[in-house]
Subunit: 377 residues, 2 copies
């Protein structure tokens, strides 16, 4: 394996991009979906299960791992890859988003953010430099700069202030990262809320600093889908074409399809696992609620065409039963089925872009979703 990060753009089809990046833990085909392994586990699945869904990279959360079990502890145990038995690439976020959403008594300053742990109330400081240090201790293949992420809607001057602070933190992150690089990549994060001028300023300044990749942050935080897609559509072309583009925390299968159409290469989202734990399946027929009584006597599989064994093996009646009975296996199977569908969707998009038929794939995929689930028996 190489000891540095590289990205190759293999093919474009309209704004959609087919590429590959290489890390010290292996290559990842893009567009790529990264399952979220918040607490050093993709909830409910073994690492082998995650690989069998087709995932080539997972995301780890700095905020959760720094609080429990602790970054220094994971480093002493050989790093996050070894700790969670995941031998393929790992991207870690910077912790900024969860500090805003999970912790209490936050105090934001130029220096960083101090907060109380949601676990034990301990006072913790997170600075751009500490976020880089933690991600190096974890051994992330891709680290993210610390940024300030607002909920939308927000006043323009507040969005501008947060974007400017995030830029200064990007500079400090880059300087800190130079000391711990060791084959890893650092991504900058474009902020600017729903203001295209601010997004443009952020993208331009980040590009001047120079990163191995660029994320579009601060979206999927309350705004309508069309606003999100508009920002993505305008922001993606402002970023260097020879670097990967990562839309953070997004999204539904439809979000992924539309964002790839606008030039995004990477995604992460808890939806496939979180919704799977609550009885919802994502399939080629759209979203299916397994707790609905219509499935109680339905011997058909959720998706007979899926390449993953879990989707064709178990009957809807059985998945309905497990969901109603709140059995762990129901949560595990639906999380697995959902992650497998997300990966199948990404693989379909990659093949379509490579073949210059992304438009057809997008239309056919949407048509099947709109047609909806199989009619009841």
């Amino acid at each position: 394996m190489p000891d540095s990060f590289s990205f190759t753009l293999l093919k474009t089809d309209g704004a959609a991009r087919r590429g590959q990046f290489v890390t010290p833990h292996g290559a990842v085909q893009t567009p790529a979906f990264m399952p979220v392994g918040t607490q050093a586990t993709v909830k409910g699945l073994t690492p082998e299960d995650v690989r069998l869904t087709g995932a080539e990279i997972v995301l780890g959360n700095t905020y959760h791992l720094m609080l429990r079990p602790g970054a220094e502890r994971i480093a002493a145990l050989g790093g996050l890859h070894k700790f969670m038995n995941w031998p393929l690439p790992i991207l870690t976020d910077s912790g900024g988003f969860q500090v805003m959403s999970l912790s209490t008594l936050r105090k934001l300053s130029e220096q960083g953010v101090t907060f109380r742990s949601h676990l034990d109330g301990a006072l913790v400081e997170l600075t751009p430099e500490r976020a880089i240090e933690i991600q190096a201790l974890l051994g992330a293949d891709i680290s993210m700069q610390l940024d300030e992420c607002l909920k939308l809607p927000a006043p323009r001057d507040e969005i501008a202030r947060a974007m400017q602070l995030s830029l200064r933190w990007a500079e400090r992150s880059k300087r800190a990262f130079e000391k711990v690089r060791g084959g890893r990549a650092l991504f900058g994060i474009v902020q600017g809320g729903d203001d295209l001028a601010l997004r443009g300023e952020s993208a331009k300044s980040l590009t001047a600093i120079g990163f191995e990749g660029y994320a579009i942050g601060g979206l999927a935080v309350g705004e309508p889908q069309e606003v999100m897609l508009k920002i993505v559509e305008e922001t993606a072309p402002m970023l260097p074409g020879e670097r990967p583009r990562y839309l953070m925390g997004v999204g539904t299968p439809h979000d992924l399809l539309e964002a790839v159409a606008r030039g995004v290469d990477m995604f992460d989202c808890v939806l496939p696992t979180r919704n799977g734990r609550h009885g919802m399946a994502f399939t080629r027929y759209g979203a299916i609620n397994l707790s609905n009584a219509r499935h109680a006597d339905d011997a058909r599989p959720l998706d007979a065409q899926s390449a993953h064994p879990a989707a064709p093996t178990y009957s809807r009646a059985y998945l309905h039963h497990l969901t109603k009975a709140n059995e762990i296996l129901g949560q595990v199977l639906l999380s697995t089925v959902n992650l497998a569908y997300y990966q199948e969707l990404m693989a379909g998009m990659r093949a379509a872009i490579a073949g210059g038929r992304f438009g057809d794939f997008r239309a056919a995929t949407m048509a099947l979703w709109q047609q909806g689930d199989l009619p009841p028996l």
Copy 2:
């Protein structure tokens, strides 16, 4: 596969027995441990996971399945094997034990028992005939008679009354079973509490009725281990040697070792999965509480010698982390490790009996448990 049940006693070593029974869904080596699949799932594990632990048969609970999703529904969906994707043998209990422990407003009569479902309060009647009918609908390879199971201690006349009622229900179960047999086996259940004379009367009367196998019921319900083992020791020889003997709802690894030493062939218990969900591992070093802080920095595996991949793969530090973080994967991995250890223990006992060295195996196993877990790092 044969369309009838048979048991072959292959070897004895003292009172310990090495045997095999054959069902329409395959053969089972005894002494055997049956993981409990209460609600048509061994909690947290896929059927494939269960097989990989070495299990050759699982138990299903009539009480739970009759209430949800319903026996008629499972039959319409092709039976329990197909419903839960478990192609190997299944033993179902009669529902009697759970009626006593889970339902409310029970009313016991000569005819049977009526109760309110713990799920929705619906009034349900369970008779010996209905218990047989349900188990036939589920498609169980081995069915159990309906019996009345008391908690111990209990007054002798109450134990005698319940034992006599269970005998009359055994007769009715046998008559009902003759109509639905279809290759299946029916086991009678010895009752009589901690009274050896009553146990003897029950065993003798059941043998006169004639069953494919005999269970020792009404134990592990509050009495000390030495009382349970005494009853087992005295009751087992009262049962026909050419039929399998099943000690219901037992137990810890030590219970299993001691009961095999006294002539028991089959066991079921929720301990390996229930305790696994609560952070406890059963290993060759005894029970280990993974939530204990001593494991937080321990990179060693739980059991480097286990033949099952889960036990040597994950560090104690990781299992501790998953347990503290209440992650599903921790519950899944510890349940898996525990079931694998139970099966390894059973395989060890089978090999030892076959080799005429059960006494040595028992002493060596106990010595390792008593030596306890590895010393801290």
